[in-house]
Symmetry: C2
Subunit: 372 residues, 2 copies
């Protein structure tokens, strides 16, 4: 049925979101925005009711009722619950393409393939929208959470071509951007750019905290760089434990490669090989400068360094000047002296806006220097 062009068109008009937390409700809202009829269901009836009310979704008494007439079902629930739900939904919703939004894929896919009948499995196409928010609950959902984000689609070999195409068309229609890759590759890449940074940040904060027990003054000497590196360490422990354990092989590999790189740097330093240390730093610096604030503007961003007094209103004057000048701020970081006095703002703007930003700032008594 999923292969019939007629069914593809008509059934796709109905979307069901299973799990109406922040991300599920946001996807539902983005679908409503472009004209889909959306049903919302959650194992927690109260959360479902709030999402239905906030999102203008249709309500349903049971999971089976919620998905029966759907052309697209989005499962937005915690990783350990996905496989069972997908199996039930594929049976209850014979017309539907079923996708999930879990942030680790190989594990989920293996569990689904084990739980699902072979003749249903073609309609399961897993995915990972790389967006969201650190808030939770349907109250904080918004269609804009989906706007322009990268939504990785990770079809296993079992997925039917038509089902993949239907999911990708849906994603594009609600405002996100499809990047297709296989589940293992997705897991390997996020291990490096998402899970490894999380582990590196947590371990660094943990090391400093352990040292602090003997050296109470250690954090007095911690400046902005340390704060940057440890900001992720305040993430949700239970959530991260789930993610890291679900992607353990890829993360173990990334951690090993990282430890090896730290080890070579350590050897270069101990041996006093300044040229080798400088080469490593040069290479990393070039790579960092290629990395922009956001992928859309990665091709060209500029970073302006602007001293600002550390008092109420000074940042307002800076951002107001840019806003009035029509310059969008891609990224902004306050670099404090470790103990106040004044700060420096690192301002990232699209490269084509760099001159405008600099002249707007200069006209408002700031003294910007382009540093990248």
């Amino acid at each position: 049925m999923a292969q019939s062009p007629f069914a593809m068109t008509s059934a796709a008009e109905r979307v069901t979101v299973v799990g109406t937390g922040l991300i599920g409700t946001s996807i539902g809202l983005a679908a409503v925005r472009v004209g889909y009829a959306v049903t919302g269901w959650d194992a927690d009836a109260e959360i479902a009711a709030r999402a239905v009310e906030l999102g203008g979704f249709e309500a349903a008494a049971t999971l089976e009722d919620a998905v029966r007439a759907a052309g697209m079902v989005v499962v937005a629930t915690p990783i350990p619950t996905i496989a069972d739900l997908v199996a039930r939904i594929l049976v209850a919703a014979p017309e539907a393409v079923v996708t999930d939004v879990g942030s680790v894929k190989s594990n989920v896919v293996a569990e689904v393939l084990e739980a699902v009948e072979p003749d249903e499995v073609g309609r399961f196409v897993p995915g990972h929208p790389m967006g969201g928010s650190e808030r939770s609950g349907p109250e904080h959902a918004s269609a804009s959470v989906v706007d322009g984000i990268v939504w990785v689609v990770t079809p296993p070999p079992t997925a039917a071509k038509a089902a993949i195409e239907r999911l990708e068309a849906f994603i594009g229609r609600i405002g996100a951007r499809v990047v297709r890759m296989d589940p293992a590759r997705h897991d390997r890449l996020v291990a490096f750019v998402s899970h490894l940074p999380q582990a590196a940040s947590t371990a660094l904060m943990d090391v400093a905290a352990t040292e602090e027990a003997d050296e109470p003054e250690i954090l007095l000497l911690a400046a902005g760089g340390f704060r940057d590196l440890t900001r992720l360490a305040s993430s949700n422990p239970a959530l991260w434990s789930d993610i890291l354990l679900s992607n353990r092989e890829a993360i173990a590999e990334a951690l090993e490669i990282y430890a090896r790189r730290l080890g070579s740097l350590r050897t270069q330093i101990l041996e006093g090989d300044g040229r080798a240390v400088e080469t490593t730093f040069d290479r990393a610096k070039s790579a960092r400068l290629r990395l922009a604030a956001k992928p859309t503007v990665r091709a060209g961003v500029a970073v302006l360094q602007v001293p600002v007094p550390d008092r109420p209103g000074s940042l307002a004057a800076l951002t107001a000047a840019l806003g009035e000048g029509g310059v969008n701020i891609e990224d902004l970081q306050i670099v404090h002296s470790p103990e106040g006095g004044r700060g420096t703002v690192h301002l990232t703007v699209a490269a084509e806006a760099a001159e405008a930003a600099a002249s707007v700032l200069a006209a408002n008594d700031f003294d910007p220097t382009r540093i990248a």
Copy 2:
């Protein structure tokens, strides 16, 4: 002579800054501000001339002329040049206490003790002002660079008590805050909170860049956390090579402890020990939440999470509201969706300003949530 109370008072009126780059000139300006007569000298005559003009310093033809009548000489030159300069200055300036501002201490102290006559060495008191700016040159100097910063004073056993007291009085008088510790302890602490984060950031960016060669899409999946962790990787390679090599033993130890911590986390993940992973994350999270934006407000900060549209002017509206409400922003970070659409701002304010910040924002149609 340094021990004579009379000499302490009168000679202390004259300050000489040797090395009139950003930090040296800033210290000179902070001294001028509180009434010291300041002489500026630099091995680069053009830089010295610019600093003299900008700072209202007195000029001198030679290093010896510059320091002869000084009560306090601040050497603010690159690490490899410090020992020789200090030795020359102690001879040429018989009344002066001589200090430096190098960011690594044991190495410098050992070199100075080797270069200096035993009967001069009591007047050498090394230090490390933990401030500055990422800009360089006297043009970007400002007395406010010194305001409220932690200035570590690291007297070796050779330093005379009176000399230490004179330096500490000077530091307090120009607006900074003295923290005294021995050179090895300083080096060990900055290895953990400054040098290790730098190495961790550089190695992470280097690993991702190496992986990117085979996986061009890897950085497409890199979100805000990765950017936070790698921001330091764009620091100056030559400067950092100097610092890391000057503090190699302490950094090697810090890197080893860090690699060991990453290794245990890796084992916990590979063994699927979710409880252990969660415990590590909990401990790091508690420590991170104790760490504030700035040491002065560490005792109490609050972090507000505020969704903002990703378009010109939206940050201006937020910061303007806070400015008008008299709320000082201690830190601000934009957390983007990886590909735009909207952003979230993490706003750090002093704890006692949290309620004011939240109500000011709510009154201006923002929807802040206190997350720490």
